[in-house]
């Protein structure tokens, strides 16, 4: 479904933030990327939907190379990719349902986007999605009045409104308490199973990755150092992923 091949990226032209990263994510699979801070997890995720340009390699989404698309093709392709952020990135002054509805603007006309013209069916779907993530009663709340966990679930509903084939999550639970974290992770897991959406999550917690992911990709110093089933991630393997010397090597090379 998603194939990343020989991905390389350098922000400044000298130092490589990613060196030859390759992995695949199957349909309906939950994959977790783990690794120390600065390893390149965010860079990988943002290269997939080409928020980061000027990289090298291939990012194939259903055989379509994201890197070879022109502007309007890229917009089309991005509609198939939902994204969930550590800071939720909602439009805070708007209500929860307005934020969810943004998810369907990608395949509507510019005019509809400017005048917020949504069909009745779209509004109903947005409300259903909010109910699905347990926020039916908060549909008309301004997002700035929601808690972090609630905001993140609005973010998930917004991504689902896109009818995505792939959802990218950059540390979705890093700012949440354990209970909200569990709720968010369970929702993501459920989506993969029920809707056959592939989910790729950057995580910092090894145990949560083991618990919720099918597939774990370990990154250190811009390289894939582990790529296997979740069960294969033993404590020693995890420690290996977070090994300092790889990070140090990278810094020494600067």
């Amino acid at each position: 479904m998603l194939e990343v091949k020989h991905l390389m990226k350098s922000y400044d032209g000298h130092k490589r933030s990613l060196t030859d990263v390759s992995f695949t994510v199957a349909t309906g699979e939950v994959a977790a990327i783990i690794g120390p801070s600065g390893a390149g997890k965010t860079t990988i995720l943002r290269s997939i939907n080409q928020l980061i340009k000027d990289d090298e390699g291939q990012v194939l989404l259903n055989e379509l190379d994201m890197r070879q698309l022109n502007r309007s093709q890229l917009r089309q392709a991005r509609q198939n990719i939902g994204m969930i952020f550590q800071n939720y990135n909602l439009i805070e002054p708007l209500t929860a349902i307005e934020n969810v509805l943004h998810g369907c603007l990608g395949n509507k006309s510019t005019l509809a986007g400017i005048f917020s013209l949504y069909r009745q069916s779209e509004k109903e779907e947005a409300l259903q999605l909010l109910q699905k993530v347990g926020l039916g009663n908060f549909a008309y709340q301004q997002c700035r009045h929601l808690s972090g966990g609630q905001k993140q679930r609005v973010g998930i509903a917004r991504a689902l409104m896109q009818h995505p084939k792939l959802i990218l999550c950059d540390e979705p639970i890093a700012s949440l308490d354990p209970k909200s974290s569990t709720l968010v992770m369970e929702t993501l897991r459920q989506l993969a199973i029920e809707e056959h959406i592939s989910v790729l999550i950057n995580l910092h917690q090894v145990d949560i990755s083991r618990q919720y992911a099918d597939h774990i990709i370990g990154i250190n110093g811009g390289q894939v150092v582990f790529d296997d089933h979740a069960e294969a991630l033993t404590d020693t393997a995890a420690a290996q992923i977070y090994r300092k010397d790889l990070v140090l090597n990278e810094e020494a090379a600067v």
């Binding site: 952020f85 002054p93 917020s116």
Partner: protein, 286 residues
Amino acid sequence: MIKPEKQLTIPTPTAKGPQFKMPVKLKDRRRVTIYLTLLVLAYLTMVTLPTMLPDHLNLKTASLTFLQNIQIMFFHPGLSNTTFVQLIQALLESILLAFLTTLIGSVIAFVLALVSFRQLVPAWVGLAIQSFMALIRAIPNVLWVLIYSVVFGLGANAAVIGLTFHSVAYLTKVYTDSMEELEPDAIETMRAMGLKNGPIIRQALVPNFIPSYLSWTFIRFEINFADAVAVGAAAGAGGIGYQLFMASSFYFNFHEVGVIVYLILVFAILLEIASYHLRKRVMGNQ
């Protein structure tokens, strides 16, 4: 968001031996420049002030007349050459002039601000627009009105165009600055969902931008009102400023000047109250 002027490099105490004192503020060339400028200005004032006094001026009688006039203005306001209704009409004229110029100015400025917003267009476009606006701003408002009076003749047309011109330049600058202070994440998120610029502006930028928009536009309205009064006198654009000019420089009627000043004051206070409530309502929604 506060951006530090310079990269902070904290010196290590060991680097300079035991008598090293760690500074709390970094030496800043800007502050030195400000102090120097103030010093020079103070010196110039002290030197020139005595030479400006004409020989025949009697400071005592001058101050007395001044106080007398002030007393007439503020304690004995009254009308003789104009009626109250005429003055109210003139005040409304000035308010409308300010309102119209602010409205047109804010619409044009919003478009220009979008066109020079770095998250939407290449940086050089923004730079070009902002430089041009800075050029316009460098010339005072009233001067623009006078320049346009040469083209259109003295009167309301020149006032509207002149005031709008300066409003556009001012508002474009503050709008762009406020837009650039907003979190860039909102726009990037929309871009990641595959939206086009139109919907991105409307859905991600506008909702976050409304509070600063209202607040800056209101401030500009206040400025435009003050300028509309000044321009009424200077460029014959009518309004309360013209009445003020006639009463003070033509009829020398300080009673009437008093009434006019009170009128303007009342309106200024009303404006302040309105802006306070507006701001509270917008903030209350946050």
